[in-house]
Symmetry: C2
Subunit: 236 residues, 2 copies
């Protein structure tokens, strides 16, 4: 798995926090990272376990899950390609990280990774900036979870997914109805929004009945009236 080509082949290199290091001293990372493939549904890190690894996500989508003592769960974050995975400086992992799709990681042992951070201030700064951004996202989500209705949550979620689909190559013609596949099941959407499967499904049905979206089948969704959708997602 190890090898000096690991970084030069990397498809997301410039989007990760490695970028700054690669310009100056590529070898610092190439020698400590190795690729790891993860199957859909497989768990990378268990909450409570020793926090051993740090990694970059190369492909796929991971979920970060918090659990109550009696098993209720809440997705507290999603990780997409080029995102950073893991908790440097932490003794134990606070959340369980599980793959929603097949995924690939570029894994670094934590101690070696922390050494690189020390030696390369630019990389540490990028990690700081990402952490600050994640904190903002998390706090905005707190507002959604605590203060918006199920209708607003689902509409807001669909707005987010639409913009994410648009940014990743989906046609974004301003007026034409956009169609894409939701990467998540109803249950996973419910886990993100703090709702139940049934409530998510009902809200989808309402939006369909109102002519705002269409559900052609499978996980496909068509946004027929994006203005209408946004107006139902006041918080966003």
């Amino acid at each position: 798995m190890l090898g000096t080509t690991i970084c030069s082949d990397c498809t997301v290199r410039d989007a990760t926090i490695c970028g700054s290091v690669m310009n100056n001293e590529p070898s610092a990372l190439e020698n400590i990272g190795h690729k790891k493939s993860i199957n859909r549904g497989e768990t990378v890190i268990w909450a409570g376990d020793e926090s051993i690894i740090c990694a970059n996500l190369l492909s796929g989508v991971l979920k970060l899950v918090a659990y109550t003592a009696d098993g209720r769960e809440q997705i507290v974050g999603l990780l997409y390609p080029a995102d950073f995975v893991g908790q440097p400086y932490a003794g134990r992992a606070d959340f369980t990280i599980t793959a929603l799709t097949n995924a690939e990681l570029c894994v670094f042992p934590r101690s070696a990774f922390e050494r690189v951070l020390t030696d390369h201030a630019g990389m540490e700064r990028l990690l700081l900036q990402r952490t600050l951004a994640a904190l903002n996202t998390s706090r905005r989500q707190m507002l959604t979870l605590a203060r918006t209705s199920a209708a607003e949550k689902v509409a807001g979620f669909l707005v987010d997914m639409t913009s994410r689909a648009a940014s990743s190559g989906c046609r974004a013609t301003d007026d034409a109805p956009v169609t894409f596949d939701l990467p998540l099941s109803r249950g996973q959407i419910a886990d993100i929004l703090g709702l139940t499967i049934e409530t998510v499904s009902r809200q989808m049905t309402h939006l369909k009945a109102a002519g705002i979206i269409r559900l052609p089948g499978g996980r496909a969704i068509t946004i027929a009236d994006s203005d209408g959708l946004e107006s139902r997602a006041v918080a966003a």
Copy 2:
């Protein structure tokens, strides 16, 4: 306000992120920081405004508030003495920061502060570690907001406040009932927990009726049965 004694007089210096810099090169910070007093209720930073300042909180408690477009609000974080205030690298502030009590800040212009971060990797690392910790706190709170009942939220909140009171000088005799003042009004507690004032009040009354707590008057609270309280706060 400026002066070379600003840091040597600082009561929380070693608990802030400045600690690492002060050991080596105190002058880097002393020349750019200045003290600022804030009255209870005064807002330090408005969401949407240009993110100009960074600061350390010297005394008092601040709240970080997120608002929906139609004015619903949610407290997404509390800041205590020695905590860092502000968002380096951000163009605009994402949240409104308001004083819950009279407070004192040690304010740095953002650009100067970022320069210090660049020159002092140790300080940047401390900020990174704090940001990671804040992210964890925020994500755990997402679980509370989304998946726990009002009873669990209030009990969990009181557990948190009790341990905070204990750590800040309150007697922590294991069996004796602890008494302290809640630093927050019912409304502010509701804003933190994603509830209404009435629901918070009712849950307090329930806990009192169950003999778990006593409410001697004012904002004082006595924890009569801390085990019982903790068992009602499963998520924590």
